[in-house]
């Protein structure tokens, strides 16, 4: 996984609540057996019309948001299906950071496994960011994970919370499986105990 330390990028606003993973990557695109190549299908039913032509009214198709790498959105982003194809599609399209007042659990977790930083910010801050994006073409943010700080060129500076363990994994781009396998002895001991008595752990 690519480490995430600091990122400066163009912000794209997606002003909708409860954006579910069926919208992020519709099911007809879940049939690939690779992790890559999903970006072309991101928000497919919103980005493209029935004939497969770009829908000019969808925000990500506005010329001013081309090349965006920070997605600004609303409550409960990533709800629904556990499909990791959703973060794969966002990453492949170019998004490294997602800002929202809240995220669905499984999606939030999946982001960290793929080097995407989902940041939870208070509703007022999100509202303010929507205003700034709207008012300033080419609006960019700098996201510093080490410092847990977001800044723009107009004097905005906000801090954010993140679980320290998730933070350190993302900063170093650590492989979860490698970390778990360091506890091989503990896993084996647990399995031996269970094999000796399959129900003792519940008693």
């Amino acid at each position: 996984m690519e480490p995430f330390v600091r990122h400066n990028g163009l912000v794209a606003p997606l002003d909708r609540v409860n954006v579910d993973t069926d919208q992020i990557i519709p099911k007809q695109f879940l049939k690939r057996i690779e992790r890559t190549g999903f970006g072309q299908f991101l928000f497919y039913d919103w980005r493209f019309d029935d004939k497969g032509e770009p829908n000019p009214e969808f925000v990500l198709n506005y010329p001013r948001y081309q090349g965006a790498s920070i997605l600004l959105t609303r409550n409960n982003f990533g709800s629904g299906s556990s499909r990791e194809h959703a973060p794969w599609a966002l990453l492949d399209y170019g998004f490294r950071v997602i800002l929202a007042p809240s995220f669905a659990d499984i999606f939030y977790n999946n982001c960290f496994k793929n080097g995407i930083l989902p940041i939870i910010l208070p509703e007022e801050t999100i509202d303010e960011l929507f205003k700034r994006v709207e008012a300033n073409e080419g609006y960019r943010l700098t996201v510093d994970l080490e410092e847990q700080k977001i800044t723009d060129d107009l004097g905005l500076e906000v801090t954010f919370d993140i679980d320290p363990y998730r933070k350190s994994c993302l900063l170093q781009g650590l492989d979860d499986i490698g970390i778990t396998l360091q506890h091989e002895d503990a896993i084996r001991a647990y399995e031996e105990k269970r094999a000796a008595d399959p129900y003792a752990h519940l008693l």
Binding site: R16, Q23, S79, H85, D105, I177, I187, R194, H201
Partner: protein, 471 residues
Amino acid sequence: MARTMFEKLWDSHVVWEEPGKPSLLYIDLHLIHEVTSPQAFEGLRLAGRKVRRPDLTVATMDHNVPTWDRSLPITDAISLKQMETLKKNCEEFGIRLYDLYSEGQGIVHVIGPELGLTQPGMTIVCGDSHTSTHGAFGSLAFGIGTSEVEHVLATQCLQQMKPKTLAININGKLPPGVTAKDVILGIIGQIGTDGATGYVIEYRGEVVKQFSMEERMTICNMSIEAGARAGMVAPDEKTFEYVKGREFAPKGEDWERAVEAWKKLSTDPGATFDKEIDFDVTDLAPLVSWGTNPGQVVPVTGVVPDPASFENEVERKAAERALEYMDLKPGTPISDIKIDRVFIGSCTNARIEDLRAAAAVVKGHKVAPNVRAIVVPGSQTVKAQAEAEGLDEIFKAAGFEWRESGCSMCLGMNPDILQPGERCASTSNRNFEGRQGRGGRTHLVSPIMAAAAAIEGRFVDIRTWNINASA
């Protein structure tokens, strides 16, 4: 110290923990399917890793399988490739697979309980958010992403942050015609689609105790639609009776010892939850979803809500957008909404009791001329049981299509999809935009409400629906 059932399950599966880090939890059962596993197996191969416990891993094909005659060829080459990839991966890593042609094939959350794989006291994961279904047995069961599927394959463990606990006390007297589906839709309607985010729910109370195992599964299944990681119900005699004798259930002395352990799983008196919610069902009516998330529901006797009635601006905009997508006008009586399609199926409502209830409504009637209706049993076992009881004949005589098992039109990865603009009464779990097919409009309902809608061609109140008058 008094502990909740969740805490007992958690504590008994911690392999390793240290402050400030996620706990390492042991996984007792890992269910896999064709759509969310290929990249996980590829990851194992690239890292030169093995599946640690193929004996605790079980696979089936369900998400993209066609539901027509299984002797016909699979025409979707990409779906076929996913199925073949799963088969190859299972062979390579020594995993038991219920493939398309197996008698045990079915929706992963239907076959787990059916085979006796799902048992109280277990930790169960699957790369599918509706894994919460298995919590009906008093297990801790939740959906995971593909990276975590790979993690479990490699280590049989998961790194997990401890979620909070939420008790939902379901009490009152459930009126006739109101089902477990209406109860869970009512709960989601009350707390919202993110009302339980960060929590594991324990469903408690008189109503839950009276529910059958299948009804409990319907409730737990949709926990994720309220944002919860998992939903669970304390195991009791009904649970033990259901599990007993099934293929993978403990036998003989093991059974006695298992039941002894399972009886200790219930939340201790005096244990506290991080949050509690009361839900009374006495005045609950059959519900119909009107919007594009499962929290947007109204009683069948109600009308499509006016977005102006939402106080929060963001919610108001979401409601406006939902009504535009659904092509509905505020104030329209739900019973005036005409439908084109009916889908009875999914891991929420395609078990034998669901099919029996729907068949009882359908018996002696005909599907409305403008409606195309399909029944997709949750598994081959459910299908065989239904056929043994003659339910297939009832459905077919009424004009329903009787299909092979799979996820089908719940998510429309196979050829069973809505056409743009089509409106469907569906027993599934998600009414998201495009979920059942691009431009398709989904209304979530119970199996008996879907059955009655098929016959009338519009939504009707199953409680007062005059069966004789419309025969």
